[in-house]
């Protein structure tokens, strides 16, 4: 058994109008990784690649120790996936879904599914098409967590949910990760979701990885400096990641050790780090 839940090595995927360049990163077992980036940065493409929904042009992807091109049945048993839209056919009801999944997953846990359904307040007698977005998401999460998965993959699963539901779901994720062999990969363009729970952050922009590091390291690496426009322009340019000028002043994302004395210096959050980096690229 490897120490990595997911490993990408120089993965390339070419579309007509988009390309994933040489993507490499690892998600160590027992950890939560967040993939952040704009819409269209390549987050979903990466997730589809690791699940072998699409084929890569080059590189190597390993999921739970298995080459993604030949994901075995037993490995798929251990993966739970939640997509941004609910994937259950619209006419199905909770009980029917339970029966279906019981016939698909060898290690299906009916009790766990029923418990999740109860804690999430999922309606018994409604068809999926009458579920709210929050309910659909919770249903998908309940399904993903009820077959003894070791790896949870979530594609934009928490976007569009209200804060209370999001918070409930984050709790469920923390419970899942109490088991040391379990790992989570979650993509989102809402950085505040990920800021709370992730151990690692992979930041994707325009098909390339800008950074993939421990979240705490990223957060301590940068600070936001505020000051007058000319003051900030006088700072060493190579230390400035990005700068935003307004009529009355400017703020810049800068490496912590280069933070000058005599300026207003604030800790940077993930959103600022993402925005300043994208601005730099442009």
């Amino acid at each position: 058994m490897t120490d990595f839940a997911i490993e990408f090595k120089k993965v390339v995927k070419q579309y007509d109008d988009f390309m994933l360049h040489d993507v490499s990163f690892v998600l160590p077992r027992g950890c939560i990784m967040g993939i952040i980036g704009e819409n269209g940065a390549g987050k979903s493409t990466m997730i589809k690649l690791m699940l072998n929904l699409i084929q890569k042009e080059a590189g190597k992807i390993t999921v739970l120790g298995c080459d993604s091109d030949r994901l075995s049945r037993s490995v798929r048993e251990k993966i739970g996936v939640v997509f941004d839209e609910c994937c259950f056919p619209e006419n199905l009801k909770l009980k029917e879904i339970e029966k279906i999944l019981k016939n698909i997953y060898q290690h299906w846990n009916s009790k766990a599914f029923k418990e999740y359904a109860a804690t999430f307040n999922l309606p018994e007698n409604k068809a999926v098409k009458d579920f709210s977005r929050g309910m659909k998401m919770k249903l998908s999460i309940a399904a993903a967590l009820s077959h003894h998965a070791e790896l949870l993959i979530l594609d934009e699963a928490t976007s569009g949910l209200d804060p209370v539901v999001r918070d409930e779901i984050l709790d469920v994720f923390f419970d899942f990760i109490q088991e040391e062999k379990n790992s989570i990969l979650i993509s989102s363009h809402i950085t505040s979701d990920l800021e709370k729970i992730c151990d690692y952050i992979t930041f994707l922009n325009n098909g390339s990885i800008i950074m993939s590091e421990a979240k705490d390291d990223i957060l301590t690496k940068y600070v936001v400096v505020k000051g007058g426009r000319d003051e900030l322009e006088s700072l060493p340019q190579e230390e400035i990641i990005g700068i935003r000028k307004s009529q009355f002043g400017a703020e810049a994302l800068i490496r912590r050790q280069a933070a000058p004395i005599g300026f207003v210096v604030e800790p940077a959050d993930l959103e600022q780090i993402m925005l300043f980096n994208i601005r730099k690229e442009q």
Partner: protein, 136 residues
Amino acid sequence: MKVIINNASGVPIYEQIVLQIKNQIIAGELKEGEILPSMRLLAKEQRISVITTKRAYEELEREGFIYSVVGKGSFVAPQNIELIREQHLREIEEKMREIFDLAETAGIESEELREMLYLIEEEKKTGDKGNDGFCD
């Protein structure tokens, strides 16, 4: 065990955890042999990364405050209070030397330094009192 994390302080979270657990051990609030919450539980309850809690526990282990048993968890290590005190004294001495060095380069008299020390002490006292009142 009590851990309160301040997200706005700018002090890395793992350092905050290390400091707070260390203080509780030195103060005797955490007794020798007592089991600490698992890293994953602490991360869950505090809504922080497992890496952070892991780093904190590793730091505590390196400094000899706790020890880990594989499969069982982390426990408060037997403390040699004398040794800790000595270690702290040595650290303080080192920092004081730095202060004196800096004062010398800046041409600050030792009288002024004493004044400063006194002021800081006063400030700490009133600050702590305010804090205590707030917490209790």
